[in-house]
Amino acid sequence: MIRDLFDKFLLLGLVAVAVAIALVLGGFFGQDDALITQKRNPAVERAMQEKARSAFLLETYQPVEHLMLSDRHAEALLKLQEFDKTFPGEPHTMILRGSILVTQGVLSEGLAQYAAAVKINGDYVDEKSSLHRRDEINQLVESAVPAIRKSLQVASTPTLEKSLRDAYYLQSRLAGGCE
């Protein structure tokens, strides 16, 4: 079998490769970032992401909240228009816009904004989230549903029907119903 020096070198090489493969497969060599990340607790990862997202949104939209608190709703709406360009489709823009529109008495558009925001991000009705606005949405639904029903009894219009659907949707999400 082993006839000369060449055969000995060949055999040694094969053994070395086999040992190296065994070590690599056994995890003794190299560090894989992906493997390390996988070892992290996914729940911690999610919590961190949620916290980072909430902190980002609350900080970024702080000028709008400040204008709202000072009753400068028109300026707040303009500011949201700019956020619409920077972050198109962001539900936080919708929830703040909904809040302003309801305050200004534009119920149908306000409800539509709230419903659209909650549909995209359930955090707004999840009391464990720092973004949640359950009390605000609950108050809105409790006042809007009877008012819309009363208006519908007088004259049914597509807008009123849509507003009632939006209010019912928010109601179901507050009750824990899923999308």
Partner: protein, 306 residues
């Protein structure tokens, strides 16, 4: 030889007769469609109005089986021309609607939706950020720029806001002006932006559109005051238009979605996009009461007293 056979002659005669029948029946169906006119209030220019509303009008024609014509109308002439019967349907601002309702018993059809307030809008008074003008009492002795006189959210709402705050625009301002020509609302905003005027009466919708398009920034202006929200542009019909047709007209408008298209000049066009509208809403006449209150307070038509 063949051309002389009686069978061939009969065939040719029949072919001509059938062709004539088809052509004439086609002409009849077109001629039978009634013709009606829709007067559209010019916002900026006649050309813009025609370009904006012709596809929507074509869609209405298609759905209601009526040949509607687009009649562009200057705001100041709208009431006179409507009263003269120059058009049966009208699309105008909400102040013109209450004038025509009061004087001509116009029937309310539907209200246009555009911008964050949907079928409603509001008037604002703006100043340049850093000017120190942040409240209505700061307007004393200042130069103000208004929108056109019959603009509910570019003139009436702001005039009323000032009167409500005990500020008489006729006496307490240094002077006020209205820009010439088209794009008055934008000129008003730029008038303040470039410092020609201290304050201006700007519609909330125009501020929104200009911000969305990046022509101004929200932080460029103080919004000193904002009016209550009022209905936006409105479709109405003359009192002699049958109620069934008014209902059908309204139904077509309310059912238009952003995906609704019309064939126009060989193109497939989105009806709402081409008219710069996001939809229509059915409001009641009482929703226009805030404008009536404003017009009474500001001594403006249709309640003007001399």
């Amino acid at each position: 030889m063949l051309f002389n056979t009686s069978v061939f002659r009969t065939f040719i005669c029949l072919l001509i007769a059938v062709s004539l029948l088809v052509v004439l029946s086609g002409c009849d169906s077109v001629q039978n469609r009634p013709v009606m006119r829709i007067g559209y209030m010019n916002c900026n220019s006649e050309a813009e109005t025609v370009a904006r509303f012709t596809p929507l009008t074509a869609y209405l024609s298609e759905k209601l089986n009526i040949d509607f014509e687009v009649i562009p109308v200057d705001t100041q002439d709208f009431e006179e021309r409507f009263t003269a019967g120059e058009f049966e349907f009208g699309h105008s601002n909400s102040l013109l609607y209450i004038m025509l309702k009061e004087h001509q018993q116009m029937q309310l059809i539907a209200t246009e939706k555009r911008g964050q307030y949907g079928a409603r809008t509001a008037g604002t008074i703006i100043s340049r950020k850093g000017s120190g003008i942040t409240r209505i009492e700061h307007l004393k002795g200042k130069r103000m720029l208004f929108g056109p006189q019959l603009a509910p959210s570019g003139y009436l709402a702001q005039y009323d806001l000032m009167l409500q705050a005990g500020f008489d625009p006729e006496m307490d301002l240094d002077y006020y002006a209205i820009p010439h020509g088209s794009f008055k609302h934008e000129k008003v905003v730029y008038g303040v932006y470039f410092g020609k005027f201290d304050v201006a009466a700007a519609p909330a919708l125009d501020l929104e559109l200009m911000t969305r398009e990046g022509r101004i920034f929200a932080d460029d202006f103080n919004i000193i005051a904002q009016s209550e929200v009022i209905p936006y542009c409105t479709f109405g019909a003359a009192r002699n238009v049958p109620a069934d047709l008014v209902r059908a007209f309204r139904k077509v408008l309310l059912e238009i979605t952003p995906e609704t298209t019309v064939q126009f000049n060989g193109e497939t066009i989105k009806v709402l996009d081409s008219a710069w509208i996001s939809g229509f809403e059915q409001l009641s006449d009482s929703d226009y009461d805030p404008i009536r209150r404003m017009a009474r307070n500001a001594n403006m038509p249709p309640y003007q007293e001399f």
